[in-house]
Every structure is written in structure tokens, then in C-alpha cells.
């Protein structure tokens, strides 16, 4: 499992990464089962919510307002957080964020940290940086623990280990916890994780978490979770570090009445997730007394500049688009070469990389629109995918080394041919003759040689009919009135 690369800088392109996964029937079965279960639960709970569309509209509007005035709301958040005893740090790049966090941990002299699941920390590759600094991170979310002990990578933003099944979990726990007594009963496996982590919660003094929402009005931070590992990490340690993308801020406390209703139903198919925590700076006598927030940009401000793409930053990370996506459901998350897989990853990752990497991801979609339909904050993902495809193409065709790239060559030829009816007619005739040897009796082309095989490898091609529409039109018997 360790060959999975989730760094868009050196991950293979999507089609290449997807191939071996498509042959892994066990993984596909695991992903299909998990996404089916979540989708069924979600569908029921969304259907019972009669004001679902109104909540979506409100959430999209709240997020758009925040993004348009992001500077104001971030400054307000910093002021309120600082006034209540927290410290706010700003990080332009993943490197900056890693250095800030490592430094805070080193100042506490901690050798171990406990972590709540945070995709943002995976985005900035935090764990390797902590380990390099001699600090051992312990993931406390059950799914993240399974991945950490199994040297695996997250494949889903809400249930990161959904590609692993119970017998694989049993094997990992037996090997890494020395618990050879375990059966593959999820109840027993969960109990083993509880026992394993209990001493860490009570003994480790520094915690790292992400954030679901930052409230500008009060400086509060919100985390939603199910297991209680979040509450442990937010309450017991002396030092707490929250890492959050700058887009996580919302204007007012009251806006949570919209966000919390949408998030739980959309993410896990629950009316409300078992635990949500909200805290503001430092509260004397209750919880960590040394509290830091690290605000991460890492390309987000450049997404803000594009009118269409800006909606990407509305995302509240519910993963509904992943669960519904016909592509994700076949490949799981690893093929996307990023911690953010599925439709949201296909638009977010290339943008975070400023299109320098992950250019294959906008194509990892059939543009069916299911993701847009389920999105609780109404991100028009297909629209952004098409726009990103255009940007990728615009960049590539200007690159000198692509002058003889067959696709761009073909496009230039097509440009000339399609510009005149005369040339188009002749091209049709040539094509008909040229393809005749490959066209079977059923009228289909099943395999083409050389470059053409790239098309016929995965799909058939209709042979060019003997008569074009124009020819048929001219030859039809004219009806006399």
C-alpha cells in the first residue's frame, strides 16, 4: 500500500494511477460498499428536510459574502481570537505552516502530539515534518489510526479508510498493536483502538487539529466529529494548535445554524453528528491554556481571483460529491494523487498547485453533474472542471515541446479542415476510405493501430457511414406539392 503517492507534485497522472486500482477488486468492493451505505443514509435525511434547498442557498450566500470580504473577516477573527487568549499565525505556504507548527511544539518540549483528523495537515505533509523534528504524531481518529498503523494514505475526506475492510484492519492491528487475539468484529476492533489511545489522551500534552469553521464575530473555532477523540484532544492537553485554510472563516456565530445542519446530513447522513465542539481562545480552568491558530493560504488566495473558480472555496468538506461520483466510486481516492480526491479534489488540487501539477484531474470526470446536485453549498463543479480543462489546454498548446504532440497536431489540422465545407467533405471521403479496412461487418471499429488504439483500447468507434447527412439530403426524393 505504501506506493500510493498523494503529493500532486510527483503523483502519476490520473489515468495511469487509476489502472492498477481498477484491477484491485477488493478495494473497489470496499469503496462501493462504503459509498453506497453513506449515500443511502444521506438520501433519506436530505429527503426529510423540507428546507434543504433554502439551506443550500443560504450557505452558498454566506460563503460568497465571506469570500468577497475575506480580508475583513480574517482580521476580525484574528482580533477576537487574540483578545480571548489565542495566538494567530499566518502561513503563505505549506513550508511556512510546517515550520510554525514544529516551532510551537518544540517550545512546549513535547516529544509526542495527538492529532484529530485534519485533511489540511495531510495537504501540507505535516506528519513527516514532525517526525523529522523528533516529534511523534499519534492519529486519534479511528480511520486515521488504521491508515497510520498500516502505512497507508487517506482515500476519502470524511472516512479516509473506507478502502480498507474489517479483515485488513484486524491484520493491521494484530501486526502493529501486537493484538493477535482480535477477531474481525468491528466492535472488537473499535474497542482495541479505544484501549490503545486512552493512555495517549491522558498522557500527551500537545494536540493538533483542523477546523470546520472559524467564527469571525467571536474568534471561536468549531470541530465536528463522531468518536469523542476530538473532544479528548480539544480538552485534555495543555497546548492546542488548530490548522485551518483561510476559507474556513464564517461571519457570525449564528451562521452555524445553517452550516451544521447541512454538514452532518450531507457528510454522514446524520441529523447531527454525535459531537460538535466550539471553543473561543483560552478559557481559564477549562481546556488548553496555550492555544494557536495557523491560517494557511497555500494557493487559496489565487483561487479567489477567478470568478468561476472562486466557488471552490465554499467547500465545507462533506465528501458528498465523492460518494456520488461514478468515477470516484470506481477508483477510490488514491488515483487522484492528492489528499483531496473525487470531484472536489479534481477542481481543488490543480488550483492549489496553480495548474503546475495535477493537470490530468479536471479530466477525471464524466461531467454528469451528480456532484453539483448533492453539493450542500452549491459548487458548480462541472462548470469549474470545464473551465480548468480550457486553462490546461491553453497552457499546454503554447508549450514549445508540444508542437509535435499528436493531439495538438490533430487539433491544428482539424482547425484547418473544419474551417471550410470543401475541405470537410474531402476529409470525410478520405476518412471513409481510410477506415474501411478496420470497419467490421457490424459497422463498428473495434481496434485501430498505433495512436488510434488509444481510443479503441477502452471503447468502440462507429464506422463512418457510406452516406453523409448532406449526401442523403440531396439524394432524397423531393416531395412535390
Amino acid at each position: 500500500m505504501s506506493q500510493v503517492v498523494l503529493n500532486p507534485r510527483n503523483a502519476p497522472p490520473f489515468p495511469q494511477a487509476a489502472l492498477p486500482i481498477l484491477r484491485d477488486t477488493q478495494l473497489r468492493k470496499n469503496v462501493a460498499h462504503a459509498t453506497d451505505v453513506i449515500q443511502a443514509k444521506r438520501a433519506l435525511l436530505v429527503a426529510e428536510k423540507q428546507d434543504w434547498q433554502e439551506l443550500r442557498a443560504a450557505a452558498a450566500a454566506i460563503k460568497d459574502e465571506t469570500l468577497q470580504h475575506l480580508d475583513k473577516y480574517l482580521i476580525e477573527f484574528q482580533e477576537r481570537c487574540t483578545a480571548t487568549g489565542g495566538t494567530v499565525h499566518w502561513a503563505s505556504s505549506p513550508g511556512d505552516a510546517r515550520r510554525i507548527i514544529v516551532k510551537i511544539v518544540q517550545e512546549t518540549k513535547a516529544k509526542e502530539v495527538i492529532k484529530i483528523k485534519t485533511m489540511t495537515s495531510a495537504e501540507i505533509d505535516l506528519n513527516p515534518a514532525l517526525i523529522a523534528a523528533g516529534i511523534r504524531p499519534f492519529e486519534t481518529d479511528l480511520a486515521e489510526l488504521i491508515l497510520q498503523l498500516g502505512d497507508d494514505e487517506p482515500s476519502h475526506i470524511v472516512a479516509p479508510a473506507l478502502h480498507v475492510n474489517r479483515s485488513q484492519v484486524r491484520e493491521i492491528f494484530a501486526r502493529r498493536m501486537g493484538r493477535h487475539d482480535l477477531t474481525d468484529d468491528p466492535q472488537a476492533l473499535t474497542a482495541a483502538a479505544r484501549t490503545y489511545l486512552r493512555t495517549k489522551f491522558l498522557g500527551v500534552d500537545t494536540a493538533i487539529c483542523g477546523a470546520n469553521f472559524l467564527v469571525a464575530e467571536t474568534g471561536a473555532v468549531t470541530i465536528v466529529e463522531s468518536e469523542g477523540n476530538g473532544r479528548m484532544c480539544l480538552t485534555l492537553p495543555r497546548t492546542l494548535i488548530a490548522l485551518a485554510g483561510i476559507e474556513k472563516v464564517i461571519p457570525k456565530f449564528r451562521d452555524l445554524e445553517v452550516m451544521l445542519q447541512l454538514l452532518a446530513r450531507s457528510a454522514t447522513g446524520e441529523r447531527m453528528n454525535p459531537y460538535s465542539s466550539l471553543w473561543t481562545g483560552v478559557t481559564p480552568g477549562d481546556g488548553p491554556q496555550n492555544f494557536h491558530v495557523v491560517l494557511l493560504d497555500n494557493g487559496r488566495s489565487s483561487i479567489l481571483a477567478h470568478h468561476t473558480e472562486r466557488q471552490t472555496l465554499r467547500c465545507i468538506r462533506c465528501a458528498a460529491c465523492q460518494n456520488t461520483c461514478p468515477v470516484y466510486r470506481q477508483t477510490g481516492g488514491h488515483a487522484y494523487g492528492s489528499v483531496y480526491g473525487g470531484p472536489i479534489g479534481a477542481i481543488l488540487t490543480p488550483q492549489l498547485m496553480q495548474l503546475e501539477h495535477a493537470q490530468s484531474l479536471p479530466y477525471a470526470s464524466s461531467l454528469c453533474g451528480a456532484c453539483y446536485e448533492v453539493c450542500p453549498v452549491k459548487i458548480n463543479i462541472p462548470e469549474i472542471l470545464i473551465d480548468l480543462r480550457a486553462q490546461v489546454t491553453d497552457r499546454e498548446r503554447k508549450q514549445m515541446f508540444r508542437i509535435f504532440d499528436p493531439m495538438y497536431l490533430a487539433m491544428r489540422v482539424a482547425n484547418v479542415v473544419l474551417a471550410s465545407p470543401w475541405r470537410f467533405r474531402w476529409a470525410q471521403r478520405l476518412g471513409r476510405v481510410g477506415l474501411l479496412p478496420f470497419t467490421r461487418k457490424d459497422g463498428w471499429i473495434h481496434s485501430l493501430p498505433s495512436l488510434g488504439s488509444r481510443w479503441t483500447m477502452t471503447r468502440d468507434l462507429r464506422g463512418i457511414p457510406n452516406q453523409s447527412f448532406r449526401q442523403w439530403w440531396r439524394s432524397r426524393p423531393t416531395v412535390k406539392r
Binding site: 475575506l70 467571536t218 469523542g228 452532518a264 454525535p274 460538535s276 489565487s302
Partner: protein, 223 residues
């Protein structure tokens, strides 16, 4: 004094860079329209009080919380019964918990800065709450002196929460309306700790309390 970030740049420099980038990206946009944002979703519930309370109880039971309903006069008897049936003996009480709820015959540790070890060693905890939302079966703690510090309702494996019907609202927006000031701390509990991380099989009781008991006290006079 200028705080220096680990990479040697002044902290304010990264802040300024990010804010500058944001401002460049958002220039020429519309002025803030926060008060006019569309909020057409359901604000007030449609159920009458009895149905609303019944819904709360139903939701709690769906989460496998144990629910008992009682009249205000029977509360003490009800707590006594609940504690006795738990088979447990040592309980934590938040510092402001009503003395009469601390039933004689059980061992009580009042949380005046109790150590984590002392709380962890207790069998259970009894707390009040700030509000409850029937639509989602959510119990809201704002961690006042009767609701306790966050840690007291977290470490013990058994949690008894006293909920008065006057605290129950139907929808989440109704709860937000009840908050005159935003809370500094809040915990929203919708059922006992659970996970579905292994094959989406719901397993109760990971790290939070595995047993949640709620006594619903009918303190409203019928209208």
C-alpha cells in the same frame, strides 16, 4: 517587538502578503451585504409543545440514549432510581450542581479543579444542560457551573443529563435565537460516541461516554 516566524520573516509580513493577495483578488466586488443574505430556511418549528417534547425523546432513543420522563416533584426520586440502576457508585458533579441532585448514599466528587485522573477514575457524571434541539435530538452544553467543565462530561463512561422541557426547542435556528450572546464554549451532543469507520458499521462507544442517560423534566405549565 516584532514576532519573528521560524523562517526568519516577520510574522506580520506573511499576514500582509496574504491580505494583499486577497485584496487584489477581490477588488471591485460588491460591498458587504451580510444583513440581506437570503435566509428562507425554516426558523421556527411547526410542532406543538407536546409533539416537540415527544420528538426530542424519540430522537434520543434512536441514538440509544436511555430516557426517563418525570414531573418536577419526582426529579429527586428519578435521579436516585437512575443512579441505583446504573450499579455505579462514584460520580462527578460540576461545581454548581444543585446539592439536592447529589443523592445520599453515593460517593460524589465535586469538580473544584479535580485532576483528570480523579475524573477518569469516577464511574459517571451528572450534569444540567443549556438547551436541547428536538429536530436532531441534540443536547447543548455551554459549560456553565451546572453543566461542568468540558472534561467532566467527557472522561466518565456514563453521563446522566437533566433536561427540562422548557429548554427544548424544535429547530437548530431556535436554539441560536435563544443565545443572547454567543457562548464561549459549547458542546453539542447528539447521541453517545460512535464510529462507522470500519465498513460503515455503526459502533457505539469509542472515546466519549458510552452510556448517555437523560431525565426529561416536565416543568412547563400546560397552556
Amino acid at each position: 517587538m516584532v514576532e519573528i516566524a521560524p523562517n526568519g520573516k516577520a510574522m506580520s509580513e506573511a499576514r500582509q502578503q496574504i491580505l494583499d493577495r486577497i485584496r487584489r483578488a477581490t477588488t471591485g466586488g460588491a460591498p458587504s451585504s451580510y444583513p440581506e443574505l437570503p435566509r428562507e430556511y425554516t426558523h421556527r418549528g411547526r410542532l406543538d409543545r407536546n409533539a416537540c417534547i415527544a420528538l426530542m425523546v424519540e430522537r434520543l432513543r434512536e441514538y440509544d440514549a436511555k430516557v426517563v420522563e418525570c414531573a418536577p416533584g419526582d426529579l429527586i426520586a428519578c435521579i436516585t432510581d437512575c443512579l441505583r440502576k446504573s450499579g455505579k457508585c462514584t460520580f462527578v458533579a460540576p461545581s454548581g450542581l444543585s446539592a439536592e441532585w447529589m443523592i445520599h448514599g453515593f460517593s460524589w466528587k465535586v469538580d473544584k479543579d479535580l485532576s483528570y485522573a480523579a475524573i477518569e477514575a469516577s464511574d459517571g457524571v451528572v450534569t444540567a444542560c443549556f438547551a436541547a434541539v428536538a429536530d436532531s435530538g441534540t443536547i447543548v452544553l455551554h459549560h456553565s457551573s451546572t453543566e461542568g467543565r468540558r472534561v467532566v462530561s467527557l472522561l466518565p463512561d456514563w453521563h446522566l443529563c437533566i433536561l427540562f422541557t422548557s429548554q427544548i426547542v424544535e429547530t437548530l435556528p431556535e436554539y441560536f435565537k435563544r443565545c443572547e450572546l454567543p457562548p464561549r464554549l459549547a458542546t453539542y451532543i447528539s447521541g453517545p460516541s460512535a464510529t462507522a469507520d470500519i465498513e460503515m458499521t455503526r459502533i457505539k462507544g469509542v472515546h466519549g461516554p458510552r452510556f448517555l442517560h437523560v431525565i426529561v423534566v416536565h416543568d412547563e405549565t400546560p397552556s
